[in-house]
């Protein structure tokens, strides 16, 4: 209960801060509409927004699962093989250094305008933090444990699974938490690249036509989605690691 109250408190605080910002900074409506206008739009366009949010949520869900899996696998590969490390690690940085917008035409060329190009985009964005955080953690395994495994005659693969991976789980969780926040943005960017549905589409459409109310209403829903996702991942990580 106190948790629910606290969340409500925070939401209220955000809305208040928002309204105050508008009063103080004299924000014009077409740059930042007030909370009242946005919430009323949220209500009047609830069907439209809900439909689009569903699309985005699907993309995010698939992207998150695939991205986490890909990140997990890549970090393992990087740790397991020095060759992979010297080849794949630059690729990893590369995959992030290239802004997705530059890759967008290539992705749409391959995946078309359907859901998969957005999933790919979300995956691409999630992939790096997960890999990077997990890899860093995998490389920090206390030496004593690795030596113990060596004396015990462990196969490298087993050392990875039985020692490095469990020891690095907090790092993986850390990466996942980041990913949970980035996944929705990934899908949104994917939608900006080409979509006729989804919250990103709705936002861009609203923005392009200066329907800032609708844009911020969609934004609000997106933020809520991100919060829920982040909280869920946080809870899962806590459960798995501490359970």
């Amino acid at each position: 209960m106190t948790r629910v109250f606290r969340i409500f408190g925070v939401i209220l605080a955000i809305l208040l801060a928002w309204q105050t910002l508008i009063w103080l900074a004299q924000m014009p409506r077409f740059i930042l509409p007030g909370p009242v206008a946005v919430i009323s739009t949220l209500w009047t366009s609830r069907l439209l927004i809900a439909q689009n949010a569903l699309v985005t949520a699907t993309e995010v869900g698939i992207g998150l699962v695939l991205g986490a899996a890909a990140g997990f696998a890549s970090a393992l590969l990087l740790v397991a093989s020095p060759l992979a490390r010297s080849v794949l690690r630059p690729m990893l940085v590369f995959s992030q250094a290239v802004p997705v917008f530059a890759l967008a035409p290539i992705l749409t060329l391959w995946f078309g305008y359907g859901i998969w190009s957005k999933v790919a985009m979300a995956l691409l964005i999630i992939y790096f933090p997960v890999t990077s955080a997990f890899f860093d953690a995998l490389m920090r395994t206390p030496r004593g444990w690795l030596e113990l495994a060596r004396v015990m005659g462990a196969a490298p693969g087993r050392v990875l699974w039985r020692i490095r991976v469990p020891a690095a789980m907090p790092g993986f969780a850390s990466g996942l938490r980041l990913a949970a926040v980035y996944a929705p943005i990934g899908a949104i960017i994917g939608e900006w690249v080409g979509a006729s549905r989804g919250l990103g589409y709705l936002m861009l459409l609203a923005n392009g036509r200066a329907k800032t109310d609708l844009m911020f209403a969609s934004l609000l829903v997106l933020v809520a989605l991100t919060f829920v996702l982040h909280a869920a991942v946080d809870a899962v990580c806590r459960r798995v690691w501490e359970g």
Partner: protein, 241 residues
């Protein structure tokens, strides 16, 4: 189990330019229990690590050999000075770690028996952080005893135990490791006098062999020859630099 080989380590070790120990020769006869005593920081753990094929950071000039001429890799079990338990595994799974790491079928029955023999039957499902210091050390001991290797290196394995469980663990180890080549680092002279078929004293000057009591190990802890040997060792140690 194959015939347990005798070990020999001869050479000197440096870490990052600083000498850890000067030229020494250490002999541990095959199938015997050798105790290694010596002042703190003289290099005992380093020797065990070198014998276990570890110590990549140590620049060791010399040889580590087994008398059967075969490499030691895969024939050694090491119980290190710190317990090195995995915090995410409970006591039982920690004991089964070796099997899991090698991919052999984990012998749960045997591991439970082992836990029971180290006096932790009621703690099998506890994680390391819910165990006391002595309990953790006994889990690490159980894990080492599960290894079934002809060469066993023990680095102060009973240091966190009370007299009663210490004696019990000594008996257990002596029983289970019969026929193995043991190198056992300890600071407890009573322990060395009780268990050693051979007793070595390591000082900055090198490694000297000290005659153990004539009776076969493990000896009764308050037998006169054990007490005499213990007193002798203590005097040597008190004089050692």
């Amino acid at each position: 189990m194959t015939q347990a080989p005798a070990l020999r380590l001869a050479g000197e070790a440096r870490i990052g330019g600083a000498t850890v120990f000067g030229p020494v020769t250490l002999d541990a006869p095959g199938g015997c229990w050798t105790c290694l005593l010596g002042p703190s920081g003289v290099g005992k753990s380093t020797i065990l690590r070198l014998l276990a094929g570890l110590g990549d950071e140590v620049a060791f000039a010399g040889d580590v050999t087994a008398d059967d001429g075969l490499p030691l890799g895969g024939r050694v079990a090491l119980m290190a000075q710190s317990d090195l338990l995995m915090p995410w595994l409970d006591a039982l799974d920690n004991v089964l770690l070796g099997a899991r790491l090698r991919g052999t079928t984990p012998e749960r029955e045997r591991a439970m028996t082992m836990l029971q023999r180290v006096g932790l039957a009621g703690h099998a499902r506890k994680r390391p952080r819910a165990l006391s210091g002595g309990q953790r050390q006994r889990v690490a001991l159980a894990r080492t005893l599960m290894e079934d290797r002809p060469v066993v290196l023990l680095d102060e394995p009973f240091s966190a135990l009370d007299a009663r469980s210490r004696a019990a663990m000594q008996d257990l180890a002596a029983d289970l490791l019969r026929g193995c080549t043991i190198l056992h680092v300890t600071h407890d002279t009573a322990e060395a006098a009780r268990l050693g078929d051979r007793i070595l004293l390591m000082t900055e000057a090198g490694i000297a062999s000290i005659a153990p009591p004539a009776t076969p190990a493990p000896r009764i802890h308050d037998a006169p020859e054990t007490l005499a040997s213990q007193g002798h060792l203590l005097r040597l140690l008190m004089a050692a630099r």
